[in-house]
Symmetry: C2
Amino acid sequence: MSVTAPLGFRAAGVAAGIKSDGQRDVAVVINDGPQRAAAAVFTKNRVKAAPVLWSQQVVSGGRVRAAVLNSGGANACTGAPGFQDTHATAEHLAALLDDSAGEIVVCSTGLIGERLPMQQLLAGVDAAVAEAARDGGLNAADAIRTTDTVSKIAFRRGSGYTIGGMAKGAGMLAPSLATMLSVLTTDAVLTSEQCDALLRAATEVTFDRLDTDGCTSTNDTVLLMASGASGTTPDEEEFARLLTEVCQDLCRQLLADAEGATKTIAIEVVGAASTADAVEVGRAIARNALFKCAIYGEDPNWGRVLAAVGTTDAAFEPDQVNVAINGVWVCRGGAVGDDRAKVNLKPRDVTVTVDLSAGSAAATVWTTDLTVEYVHENSAYST
Amino acid sequence: MSVTAPLGFRAAGVAAGIKSDGQRDVAVVINDGPQRAAAAVFTKNRVKAAPVLWSQQVVSGGRVRAAVLNSGGANACTGAPGFQDTHATAEHLAALLDDSAGEIVVCSTGLIGERLPMQQLLAGVDAAVAEAARDGGLNAADAIRTTDTVSKIAFRRGSGYTIGGMAKGAGMLAPSLATMLSVLTTDAVLTSEQCDALLRAATEVTFDRLDTDGCTSTNDTVLLMASGASGTTPDEEEFARLLTEVCQDLCRQLLADAEGATKTIAIEVVGAASTADAVEVGRAIARNALFKCAIYGEDPNWGRVLAAVGTTDAAFEPDQVNVAINGVWVCRGGAVGDDRAKVNLKPRDVTVTVDLSAGSAAATVWTTDLTVEYVHENSAYST
């Protein structure tokens, strides 16, 4: 169902020859209205790809007619010529839609530091617009894959409206925006200000708390487009909950497909003095290479959890920290707790609970294990 | 020559049965004076092992008679009983030396979260003191190894005095104090204040800039003891230079023996607005899993270097950053530079130079690649 689950959207995904293996590599998501409110959040990396620099300007206007996305090349670190390529892509799609380039979002993903093959890309945009249809959401989700082994799509039905979404991302999933690219759509009636507030609230507790390898991409973009085609003005509370669920659903799929991962790890930090403390502690554990190796080895090594907690500025006393791994409190009061032999780390899903005994705030950060396969995949990716 | 290169020191390393494989696991380094000025720097991890908590108190007095070190157990996250074990160890050595426990430094390394076998440890201290001799430095260096495949020792001759040292550490080499344990000795005449200032200056540009896996140990300790036995009051400038060289020498050995590493990587950051900026950028690259995998794969993937630089707060403009890998400027002005095919990544030593074009400050951070062997070693360490 993907991005075309809501009314008012057409989409397509085509093979334009940017990827050498002949797979789909260009997608469009077109909002036929009647409204075109939109918002987006972007990578916090200061080295931003050309399409991010372009799309930030577009989204600041609060209106988006369509998004064009390509895999097979990130168009990052490509200088002024790379920015011109993005601009030309937006102009090309705008001309096909008889609309303004200033309302066209562009997203790219793939290798950094290489120019895009513009002839193939623009021909691909032609083909995608020709194919764009109400049932094109699956092909669009397929076309934005890089090392993703499966497409990631999700949707939720609200009271009189629908929210749909697609995402891609298998590595470089880090802080401030863990997915590389995601497009969310809805036929609810929303202003661009509502889109912005709702998107920020939803991504803050989902994409922003995914940290597979601590590496922040140059291209991360999460775009929300609202067509208003349902005619329904949603209850904000319900919409916020459902949008968060769609984002969370996509995050789960990203985790399940993360490069080389054999475990999906939820790090629940409870008893924190603040949410910020809880997130900081969760992220420190999520980025600790030794902890991630231990989980790969199915070793409930809580000492490495404590060593990671100790690198943070969060409020806690070392002798009051408790740690559970898959429900067994292997560390109590900063020292040995229950028998670690009771911990079953065979299942893919692992939950590490850290109780800081410093307050009542909590947050969950999601990560994966550090595996031999991750190293293999990322040492051979570009060569 | 190790820690017994300078006059006034005895040392030993014995097998006390703490390690299950019968290797040496207890070392002593004894300062027979006439002076006993000392200083130390410790891990910045807030979860500190019992011997660190103990030794911080000892060193604050500025006088150290001896150090006792064990491998086979870190005595970290062991609560009040673990601290009592450390205290008992210091008392035991003090009694053997007819001295004060308040001037005995204790260091431990090994697994976190397990109590030390005190009967074996105290018997080991007895044996080590009995064996301690002017030629015992090599055995002491051997006894502090954990996953280290070789002992790490170094020394330099100054004008009328000598500086010696040993270190251990093969993983968990991170920020603020990269080595787990190091003991430095000198027969120069120094006050404890001089020891402190000289040690901090030397470690700031050596141990502090080693970052193999971003993981900060709970036990890191670098101790400097001055016996005054040479009778020589050193030229401070010369002593500072030689002490830094000894630390640097030990760091090189730690890098060469880092767990599973196949490359030793120097990240030189130049053109920075400040030294702090240069260190921040160097550390961000040193901790970037994707960059480290790329170097393992002998892939000069400068895009990952830029993506890492972009996560920092350092002063720079993305379109003015230049990157060289082993001398080839593969990125100029934030975009493609010279042909990456010219980069030879076959040798173990790799140099990545990042020119931020933002000032005249510089710093070098050392790291290693992220390898299949690292994951293997660290997923199986305790199981």
